[in-house]
Symmetry: D2
């Protein structure tokens, strides 16, 4: 057994939130392919997410996206989820699909449109009140495509004002997490392009405002683990949106494109106390399964996070610190690499079994007949998607 008991103990508490939209169809501007068994309703999405949790023990919460997951009775929805062993998590706002938001939402030059966007945030907070969700996630598509199209400075000022209005509505136990994104769908500038911008707004708002770090939202070459370390140091890391990328915001399965990067990120999470529940860092997925199976895609994802967390916990921090302080570059690097190259998979499988979970959740899903059943059952209706 290469994984010590104390590592397994820490893994017991790991919890990864699944995005409801990962179970719907997604794609690119060129094509969204439909797939058999795709949920038509939020209830079906939750059922699929719950299945991921049943098989892995890792995913006890489902993030909602409003209005995609709008229902009449959120308390009932929360009850339905609870019945399946999961709870409702982060509420994701959407101010990018209404025609009014073509040129901006919280930053729009027209006060009426800003008000509309703020009202949508209030609506999301109301959903949170009913579901008991902790976090309102704000990702803004706001930005411009052409130099001169907007006043960069004025848009920042309007953003600050709009966010303040939303912040003031938060309950005592509620938080706002502000996501940044380098580009897309805006192609000249985005109004929250980097962690620095998200940070300065959150710092101005107060302690209930925190930064959301999506691992796919950075410029090429950005050292993401540095940002993780910095935000933990500043006490402002609210949540992760996990996925992976080769080029842009590819939204591939977390750990698929650069597993070593995921390892380095988890190493900083561990070092900075990000696994400590007291620090309330939320770990979420935000992915698109355009060509692969959605439920197995989510299973693969949470397993990737768990495996990499295990490797990060295996780092011999005393040896690492000693090598760092001795200025022994190769030895310090070797301590990290030794943990990264350790094959934790069979140990985790055995531990999983000891907890009455399938040793191989991927195989267990494949042989469960669940996919065949939903393929047969979910006929008719409108398959869920992004509604683009």
């Amino acid at each position: 057994m290469s994984i010590p008991t104390d590592v397994l103990t820490q893994l017991e508490h790991q919890s990864i939130e699944l995005p409801s939209w990962a179970f719907g169809n997604s794609g690119t501007r060129f094509k969204v392919f439909e797939t058999p068994g795709t949920p038509r309703t939020i209830e079906e999405k939750i059922a699929d997410a719950a299945r991921v949790n049943t098989l892995t023990g890792l995913a006890p919460a489902v993030a909602l996206h409003i209005p995609w997951d709008k229902v009449g009775d959120y308390a009932a929805l929360a009850g339905y989820a609870e019945g399946l062993g999961v709870k409702l998590g982060t509420v994701n706002s959407n101010t990018f699909q209404d025609d009014d938001y073509k040129l901006g939402s919280l930053t729009h030059s027209d006060p009426a449109i800003r008000s509309k966007a703020i009202d949508h945030m209030y609506e999301c907070i109301e959903v949170m009140n009913q579901t008991g969700s902790q976090d309102l996630k704000i990702w803004l598509a706001d930005g411009t495509n052409y130099p001169g199209q907007g006043n960069l400075r004025a848009r920042q000022d309007r953003l600050a004002n709009s966010l303040a209005k939303v912040y003031d509505r938060l309950g005592d136990e509620q938080r706002m997490v502000l996501e940044y994104k380098f580009f897309e769908p805006a192609f000249y500038h985005t109004d929250v392009p980097d962690w620095g911008t998200s940070y300065v707004h959150c710092a101005a708002l107060g302690e209930k405002a925190l930064v959301c770090l999506d691992t796919g939202h950075h410029a090429p070459g950005t050292n993401i683990e540095f940002i993780v370390a910095q935000l933990l140091r500043l006490g402002k890391l609210g949540s992760f949106d996990f996925n992976s990328r080769f080029y842009a915001d590819d939204d591939l399965i977390v750990g698929a494109a650069d597993p070593f990067q995921l390892f380095r990120i988890m190493h900083e999470v561990v070092r900075g106390g990000g696994l400590d529940p007291a620090n309330k860092v939320a770990f979420m997925l935000d992915q698109c399964h355009n060509v692969e199976g959605k439920i197995p895609g989510q299973i693969r994802s949470v397993l990737n996070v768990q495996e990499m967390t295990a490797r990060a916990l295996l780092v011999d921090s005393a040896a690492l610190e000693a090598a760092q302080n001795a200025g022994d570059v190769l030895a310090a690097n070797a301590v990290l690499m030794d943990a990264f190259y350790t094959d934790v998979r069979s140990d985790l499988a055995a531990w999983r079994e000891s907890r009455s979970l399938p040793a191989d959740p991927m195989a267990a899903f494949a042989s469960s007949g669940y996919q065949e059943k939903i393929n047969a059952d979910r006929q008719g209706g409108q398959q869920a998607g992004w509604g683009a």
Copy 2:
């Protein structure tokens, strides 16, 4: 007058092909906004394109996209276009929206799907036979999202075989232009990612196969004018897809993001003989007008190309060569910059007027009432788009 007569003479022959799809709606995976007056049919797209030509004298051809622009009678369509003063140009194939192409088309591991894609290319050649178009443009969305998903090498071999079958069907005056693209919609690898790959396939096929260079399809930092110079040197530059980008394949208005880059590209075009009609380099736009007006967006685009071509033609090539050979770095650079910084706009306006064109095509369009008319006329029906 800062523009000499011989430059104006060369500009007289400039011709830029407009993409029919630029007049339809486009957007991102997050949202495609609808706009008043958007064409419902290829005839309406051609009418809009013809208007761009009427106002600028620069855009006498319209590229088709099959199946988006499919009609029963292409000869009739060509006649319709001719009646509006334009002709039908490049035929763009589409092997990325049928469900069968989810994992590839010309490169697919299933011979039946490869055959289907080849048949689509044959269909496009048949359209060309009827429209008199010169070029079949092949842009492939083929690629993979995850390492291991496909066999990179086998896919190249299948691509070569498929292209050979298409090539053999070309008429004596017909050409195939093979477009390359760095990424999107595939996120791990694309089967024709760079000019080198397009070139080796075209070289293997024969002289009727040429490279299509889309200015937005390169890795960050790529020196595009070098590729232009190289392909002209190799006799393999078939056509341009003009647009501009800050990040990825943003498809912004040509010259909008980096006007100096467009200037350098046109400088290599001029130097390499690319403006000489005998060399048959096709100049096309391939853009998306997600947030700006589509017809004025196209007018702005062709004017940008014309203005930058004028600047490139102003380069004092004797002085440039002398400075280059003297090793005078700053003087050589200054020759280029002097042309770039020359304001050609008023001269071009005057020249335009002398040719019975509006001095200011943007203003002429705005005051023409055309947009208001199509807004009013084009009610009902399905606005054209990418059909994603």
Copy 3:
């Protein structure tokens, strides 16, 4: 005359600081080429810089780099400069060339090395006391080449502590400007990689600590003008290091690689009040003339900044704001482009003459015989360079 008087009035106050090291030899890790006439001493560097000022009226200050420009008597040096019509400007610290700094300086795990680096900063402040310089510029080469080599978090904490000690030593009229850099010479992480990191340290230190923005120190695709706007909004833009780049920190002549980007940056400077002397934004060059003439390279650079500032001042801000508020994307963009494409060069030449400056400073330098004279005079000794 296309440049209005009020624009010329604003240009009168423009002042660009020249880096002493631009007059010495520079190169890459592959080769530093020597050139005739290169200064051997700081006095000769100042003489060259003063010549740039004489010919352009734009460069009344010279930045020092310690220890490259170390002298026994800084008051005498200031007097010498004054005699040539220039003053001594920013003092640049150097904690990257002593063997002790191989693994870090202000962030080093060894307190003795941190102390040594802090003492060097104190030494620089002492130089400032004697020269009357306003700014201590801190650029850190600190970083690591391999994951695990250093403790990212601990290094931040040590950086904060070290900076605080330096800050406390600043006089009432003195400032610290903290430069950030994406990568190089460190290749895995740098300790101040982005504006956000520089900002959080400056914010913690106090109002005499400000961010230094080097235009070549960003990830590919970064929207630099957004950062300019944001830092002006936050009151934390201390200074610019101007240069340009195609790939990495190429340190090419400002405006040479992407003139439109320089325009957009100057547009935000103008909009954000950065030209107002009361806001004390320092404009410096930081460039390498590896293959071109050094003095004409500096002349070309300051002229580029002046010309682009003139274009930025020509932006019709009322029309721009109207188009922005109307949501007219193309019109708003056109307002910017109209200013950018205006050829200001002949107007500036005429204005220069009216101020008893040469109409064409490049030609004036070439015909002045200055280069020939220094080539002949500066024989023997050690040509100045980076001392790498």
Copy 4:
């Protein structure tokens, strides 16, 4: 034992060439740090390289760099190397450090300088004649820093002519490998920027000209394994320069920055027959050990290549092909990941011992006293470096 016998058999033949310059000092334009024990002569470099081979059994050849490794009697040098159990490998030409090459070498506009550069290549071929080396490696620093500085097209034509003259001088068993590089030391364009350019020149020259792929010489995001597959398909992959990078041409230890990328590259090498000695692909390192120990840095590097080759050989190709043909994206990816995540280290250690090599070459070197001995012995003289 997780590594099957046939994999170990294939590993037996693996051979990685070490660059002589890796044992000398290297650094950045900011600083080259000296280190105790650094070789002063090519004989000392070879001794260090031989030690890497003794400890790993992986590095039986040493690449030379002319003129850095110039000696009077190459036959004697080859004999010296043989006595230490290694042979002399690739000869690397250098046309970037003589003052004449400031603006180019094989591409220079001055025929006298081109002749000088060609003569240098002839000199290198003469060295090969004496050492029995197979490959002449040509990496060109040729390029420009400013648009207009050079004629991109004319430089290509001159390059072709110069290369032809060099090619004609090659013996029957000799090859030319032409390296490409995205940027640095030139910052606007390089004359051989990408694999396509290297390929078209090699294809024009003939079968003794092949492409050299340096893993650090690509644009951000480039899919390198695709290029490997393509060049193997075209029969034009001559050699690798292994190293790794986070940003630019960082020249870090191979596998250090992105181990999964190295795995994917080795997967394509295996699939394309690149391990078959009959295909004569040369595997070389080209790295800089700026902050870490040089000999252990080289040991770590060859072990990284061996370990990753082992993982690539573990890929279950039948299962992979089946999953690919079935269109099972996740299963196909899982086949690759299963091999990547297999911990091969203890098996390789045991196998190493069975071949009378140290189980842990890094530890064996550390405890051997070799470093302490050379630190003591190599006093005085000039430490080897790049001579920049």
